[in-house]
Subunit: 194 residues, 2 copies
DNA sequence: GGCAAAGTAGCACGACTGTGCTAGAAAGGG
DNA sequence: CCCTTTCTAGCACAGTCGTGCTACTTTGCC
């Protein structure tokens, strides 16, 4: 029998078990039984923390999003704005295994959010949060055009997908290079406009 | 009992039934039973055309990809290169209901392809085909930098995702505007480099 | 007509699913 | 010490799943 731990910590461990199952077998295999097995718990025990499968999935999705957003907010602002923006965006992209996990999990939940209203609400929350973050980042670089905000946001999400599905053709170095090129263009245009 | 139809046509009808189920309930609900019900067939009848569920899903995914790629190849080349590129890319984006269906279905399959080798092979095939298409399109505009190819490819895929999940914040007009802005920048850079 | 092929339908099996439910163990405060 | 709360565990039910299998109908060719 696993030693008792702090309830919040137990929920976090269960969320991470969900992530591992999703990475290994996909979201459709993240059943309460499979997640409980992955976490080393009985189904009845898991359901003491999450009454339904839906709650479990929502929590796992929210935790994945919060790990990303909290890292973005933790970036040191006391440096060149261009560097700040680049570092913040780097926290979203699948550049290492930790961030790759978050991206894979996120993609699985995003896909399901198209047919699951509860997940859709969570998705919208994060989408709008990130959208505002991109707005602030571009403002910091002197760009205010909403089209440019959507442009870099879409670019980053597209790079994320490419990094996930073709790590051979879109490795971390390439993702970084594309991002740098885009930011270069952006900064240059701002300068010439001024 | 449904009248007998041409076998290939029947397979196409079944693929479209898969698409409808995916849009309505998600890929995880696209069971042989549900698809057969959607198509108005018995399970045994469906399995006369697709021996396994995996075959059914692969076919449905391939058909969705082919509908997009064939439209791209059908774009009239006898006009301004900039227009050709814009029209080709417009065939990928979820700008109307038909294309939106393809994109939603594609996203569902892409997500599952991370844990399904058979779908991964199909995904890679299409990814490389589109990658080459973007390479040709940029070459037509005078751009050859591989980073620029990945950049516009990622941008389009990101716009697709945004158009799918937030049609309110990223409506067709916005997707088009972002694409135009990107192509404008691209063409201008080519001119100044020359 | 007959006969083979193609198409349609439905049953049955074993496996897995979410969740309602009960029972017992552990923890902590009095 | 006891008693309440929290936690862990497991059973049971009703449902869905993929697929192997057989039987019947329709089609098309001779």
């Amino acid at each position: 029998m696993p030693r008792q731990v702090d309830p919040d910590e137990r929920r976090q461990l269960l969320a991470e078990a969900v992530w591992r199952v999703i990475r290994r077998d996909g979201l459709e295999r993240a059943s309460v039984r499979e997640v409980a097995r992955e976490a080393g718990l009985a189904v009845g025990s898991l359901r003491h923390y999450f009454a339904t499968q839906s709650e479990l999935h929502q929590f796992a999705m929210r935790q994945a999003a919060e790990r990303v957003t909290s890292r973005i907010e933790a970036v040191d602002l006391d440096q060149d704005p261009r560097q700040v923006v680049e570092q913040k965006i780097a926290e979203i992209l699948p550049l290492d295994d930790e961030r790759r996990t978050e991206c894979e999990v996120w993609l699985a939940f995003i896909a399901r959010s198209l047919v699951d209203p509860a997940l859709a609400a969570l998705r919208d929350e994060t989408y709008e949060l990130l959208g505002r973050a991109f707005g602030h980042m571009l403002a910091r670089l002197g760009a205010t055009d909403p089209i440019e905000v959507e442009r870099i946001y879409a670019l980053v999400d597209g790079l994320t997908v490419h990094g996930l599905i073709r790590p051979d053709l879109a490795p971390p170095a390439t993702l970084r290079a594309v991002l740098r090129q885009h930011l270069d263009d952006l900064c240059q245009r701002v300068r010439t406009e001024a």
